[in-house]
Symmetry: C2
Subunit: 725 residues, 2 copies
């Protein structure tokens, strides 16, 4: 049973580690459903009061309607009836205005998302994969600018984590044999609950259908009683905790049917989310596409520990593809069937989770959402990291250190710090072995999205692979001088046991030797008082009678030269695609064109992630200008600045708009052969710089060696009085 | 039939594109077998002459043996017999010395490889994947230094190709729906021929067994007649051209049995090398793990062309994982089941394959192995690229440009230019649609290995996806002014055709409209002379009779405003893992330790690819030195130089040896608080530099801004007279 529970819990972890919402069956209950997350945002309070005044207005409309009918029935004077009707209409107007506001929140989020997504697709930041074959749900390509953003994010990740911390980076295959994922628990428990349309066989995620039903009711049925509202909200909050039976019962209760055909649905049953395949030609070696990269690190622990000079702590890291065969992918780029993960496994002595570089981040202060605040209905608040760690809200220094580092990573990428929070897992979300878990959640049009999971997973993973493989994945601490330790020694008397249990002797001996200290001392006491005791041998599936003559249990003093232990692992795990999508939303804005006749799109990317750092424009099509542009282009290539020349004859204003839409931070316009202008994207300010300095100025400002403010105060300003922009 | 042939050929391409030897069935016959490649190297001549003198010596030994026996039989005098025996022994000695030389070549290659591989595995450059579970054949992890080398190679690739050429990089999923790989031909033809042990069911590659048999015979059976040698060599050369039947016949002829059990083997049959899976929960959407990344680019052609302003030429690029479910992987890191590809698809107007940057590489001169030299038994020779292109040996400028760029890429990584050659595909290796193909082959202990394929694939791939998807993947050339063109117009008379063919009318019409110009003109002539003609309709699988009344065929003058055409694609495709493995072999050497008691291993990596650029050693364990070391470490991090501090108390000589074995180019030894020494790995020369300058000197020299020679002539030399080294 324990074994079963352990595996079950492993999955709760897995989901975090990939930063994608975990399977939604009973077992894996670690992430707050979206709706709960939204309802705990400030937006929710408004929503609540609007709903209340809508109910009041609804009652008022009804009452006034009755009044009008009563006047008519009583054949009252026309002016009197007219006045009552006018009042009724006024009330109706007020009611519909409240309805509008109530729906407006999600409508405007939807509209904002649509304009971001339109821009992203039009400029090929991403492309639905295999589009000419009508695509495959949940698979996306990064087009040229998206690919460049991704590669910038990953190389900054490598710089910020791997290089800075001297982490051991590894690169393991995606194809994984069954035994590895059996040990991790994925083969047995990495499932989502699915229902099938009983006639067409179309598959749906059971929790999605229930969630859609509840959200739809809450949004559209404005006359819902407050009891019903509370019930539906409770269902949404509990969604992740429902068993297959409970989900099935709710679906029946609410009369939920197949969305397209209205046919009835099957009972929910588990579907394993791993893509399965077969390794080699025999057909006897099942394999899977890995659902996370972490296992590749755990199975290499022994070699990596040796590589690190048999010293703790150390961290290993991996960037790579992971795969989840989602039942019915939704939410665009947020829930996909193949994605890039960047994972860190920091191995540490469980008795010492301090971190030497913790002081470097301790003074940071940002939005945190501890367990207690969540339980008491409060919202996230700014807490100095130092306080969170010293008060024990964050379990230990190393966990705190990584939370701080993740905060710096995300905000340097361009994530808005006011829409980033670190949410602690509730007790029921966390695996039983985990010491503490925090998710970096980013708010976007879909709500608060889990983008990075930072978990102290204790010794669980290394133990699971030690058990399955028989290879001890442990660390050693050599004592300066041998220590005397008191140890409980259990010595079976094999002759007696052999006589009593014959063929079962081995299993009884193993069970006796595996007793924990307390259990063994209890047995010792019982044997001394009663002479024999009942003892459960799990591997035999029954109890046996152990007599005093069958074993000795006693404490002995032993000299030990070293301590052997399984390290704890602290795991920051990054869903790269989700971070990038949130970054797109956080950096997107529109501004009117100069003529004021249209809204222009801009991505406010920091230079660090901008897909192209600079565009070069000859002001007019002219051979001399084009030669200067080529010269500058060559210098930019030489200093490693990605850029693009645009020699199309379109107006410079249009060319600026095109480049703003790609988030290019700087533009060099060639309008003479001696000097050029450099324009900054967001301020639209321009300075005039000598041709031979242009590339190095752009390099310095994109690489962060100088600020735009500095450039602005150093070089002469250029004002575009013409129709430039 | 045409369709069939086209698909068949598609596979020959695929194999190249992934840079891994292609499936070995009849169809895919584009790469020269290893043995042929070796026999065309200088080594082969020696081998041939040795074999000849061995045969002579063998005959001499036999003759002398007979002489001895004759003397004994004739009861000759003892001194006479002794002299004859002495002569016999001398001959035997000479014979065994020749045998030794003959085997020695492969023995020493084997020994060299073993010492490279031992070092690579011991220092975790790579690790057999899932080792604690006894591994999976053909799957390897890159450990920390290997991962770092790989990431350096990929970022240089991005710099050298993508950035330098403004290529459009994309990033597509590995999971691919069946229809895409049906269009490319992989579903039907991406196979290897397999045989099964008839009792145990163990699978083997049929050509591998035959190849092993032949090589084994040639190596061990030194008494082989020259006829038999020629036959076996012929088999090896033809290996890729054998059909399943021919392979089966040879296996029977030679009595080849299952290597482990000696059981008999099944007949060869094709096994598809793609890992198959299922997309979504329904089980009705088969998918595969992509065998190459190229298809992801082809299906996006339309969007990418638009992104490029509807202009040609442009190139798209992709780096990513590819998968091949090899029957029985061998050759360590060279033949694996999952690997990283970097592919470029350069789209170009088939009427203009010039390249603006071609002059930049035209003066390069390197080993080329044109078709003609291969056919006439010559060896590769140094040819100026300009000559190869101007003489038409290389088909066009763009192909030549990429050959030159690949040469620069590989040699800058550290590949030995004398063990790198560009081999042209023979006519029978190349797909019928291909204009020209060249492989960059690198010589290593396994022979000449195909590491990069550079192919002009004409319009094949875009056409295949246009046909299958119905989405035209074409480019447009707008004419400055409309052109009058004479066009052959085929106009079916539908009424007549309908009467004659009823339900088959559509297929007959389509076949008529699809006629090529010559075919249509022939039909016109035949109809005019005979009034009717037999016409084959493939889709009906039969001939029909076409009468004069059924269609008109005539030339018309039309005004055209643009030319619509399918671009040609030139595809350089890089097998990253293979390049890295060859790089390991080319940069590895050993040198005696100072005491002369052992051989020390060194990887002569250029700074560009070295996994760590610098190590920092405090000379002795001492707090002051360690603080200086930390200070320097911080400065190195700040300037982005990957490094490692080694504060272990081991001798500095041992620490240098450890760092040489990782190929770290520079070591900073802290032996005072004001200045430190910087040591260069290969010369072991040391200079003395101020503490605050150390990081920037290392940065300049690793980033190529200054040479070591320059550093050596600028700073005071430091000679390690102590036991330092």
């Amino acid at each position: 049973m324990l074994k079963h529970l352990v595996r079950v819990r492993a999955i709760a972890k897995t989901a975090i580690s990939s930063s994608f919402p975990k399977p939604k069956n009973k077992i894996s209950c670690h992430s707050i459903p979206l709706t709960f997350a939204i309802s705990s945002s400030p937006m929710a309070a408004t929503d609540e009061s609007l709903r209340k005044s809508l109910a009041e207005k609804h009652a008022a409309v009804e009452a006034q309607g009755n009044a009008v009918r009563a006047l008519k029935a009583a054949k009252a004077a026309k002016p009197e009836i007219d006045a009552a009707i006018e009042a009724l209409n006024a009330l109706k107007l007020e009611k519909s205005s409240i309805e509008h506001s109530l729906l407006g929140g999600s409508d405007s989020r939807e509209a904002f998302r649509q304009s971001v997504v339109n821009t992203l697709e039009r400029r090929l930041f991403y492309i639905p994969s295999f589009k000419i074959y009508r695509g495959v749900a949940g698979l996306f390509d990064y087009g040229p600018p998206g690919c460049s953003v991704k590669s910038n994010v990953l190389s900054f990740w490598r710089q910020h984590f791997v290089l800075e911390e001297n982490m051991l980076e590894v690169d393991c295959p995606c194809v994984t044999p069954e035994i590895v994922l059996k040990a991790s628990g994925h083969v047995d428990k990495f499932t989502d609950l699915m229902v099938k349309d009983e006639k067409t066989g179309t598959c749906y995620r059971a929790d999605h259908l229930l969630k859609d039903f509840c959200n739809d009711k809450l949004q559209r049925d404005l006359a819902l009683s407050s009891d019903k509202v509370a019930e539906l909200k409770h269902v949404l909050a509990m969604l992740d905790d429902f068993s297959a039976e409970e989900l099935g019962a709710k679906i029946k209760d609410y009369g939920i049917v197949s969305p397209e055909t209205k046919n009835s649905l099957s009972d929910p049953y588990p579907f394993n989310l791993m893509f399965q395949t077969s390794i080699g030609p025999s057909g006897f070696s099942p394999g899977f596409m890995r659902p996370e990269t972490a296992q590749g690190i755990f199975v290499n622990f022994k070699d990596l520990y040796y590589y690190n000079g048999n010293k703790l702590p150390f961290a290993a890291a991996q960037i790579g593809q992971a795969f989840r065969n989602e039942i019915s992918p939704r939410q665009g780029l947020l829930r996909v069937r193949e994605f890039t993960l960047a994972e860190i496994e920091h191995f540490v002595d469980p008795l010492d989770k301090s971190h030497p570089k913790y002081p470097e981040v301790a003074d940071l202060e940002f939005l945190m959402f501890p367990r207690e605040e969540q339980m008491s209905g409060q919202s996230a608040k700014r807490i100095p990291l130092r306080d969170a760690v010293s008060k024990g809200i964050v379990n230990n220094e190393t966990l705190g250190y990584f939370i701080g580092r993740v905060y710096l990573f995300l905000t340097r990428l361009g994530i808005d710090k006011d829409r980033l929070r670190f949410r602690q897992h509730l007790a029921n979300e966390m695996a039983h072995y985990a010491a503490d878990c925090w998710d970096a959640e980013i708010e976007c049009s879909y709500g608060w999205i889990e983008c990075v999971g930072i978990a102290d997973r204790s010794a669980y993973d290394l133990r699971a692979h030690s058990d399955k493989s028989g290879v001890p994945l442990v660390a050693h601490e050599k004592f300066a001088e041998p220590k005397e330790v008191e140890k409980l020694v259990i010595t079976p008397v094999k002759k007696e046991l052999g006589l009593a249990f014959k063929g079962n002797q081995r299993m009884v001996v193993e069970a006796l030797e595996a007793m924990a200290e307390k259990e063994a001392l209890d047995m010792k006491a019982a044997l001394e008082s009663k002479g024999e005791v009942e003892f459960q041998v799990c591997t035999l599936g029954k109890n046996v009678t152990i007599k005093k003559s069958m074993l000795t249990i006693q404490k002995e003093i032993k000299k030990e030269h070293q301590r052997v232990f399984t390290p704890s692992v602290i795991e920051p795990s990054f869903g790269i695609g989700r971070i990038i999508y949130c970054l797109f939303e956080h950096t997107f804005y529109t501004r009117p064109s100069k003529a004021g006749d249209e809204q222009l799109n801009v991505f406010r990317f920091p230079s660090l992630v901008a897909p192209i750092k600079c565009t070069v424009f000859p002001l007019v099509q002219n051979q001399k200008y084009e030669e200067v542009a080529k010269l500058i282009s060559k210098s930019l290539t030489a200093v490693g600045i990605s850029h693009k020349i645009d020699t199309t004859g379109t107006s410079i204003g249009k060319r600026y708009a095109r480049t703003d839409e790609l988030g290019v931070p700087f533009a060099i316009t060639v309008d003479s052969t001696s000097s050029v202008t450099i324009r900054e994207r967001d301020s639209k300010d321009q300075v005039r710089v000598d041709v031979d300095k242009a590339a190095s100025v752009v390099r310095e400002v994109t690489e962060g060696q100088r600020t735009w403010e500095d450039v602005w105060s150093t070089f002469p300003h250029h004002s575009s009085t013409s129709a430039d922009e």
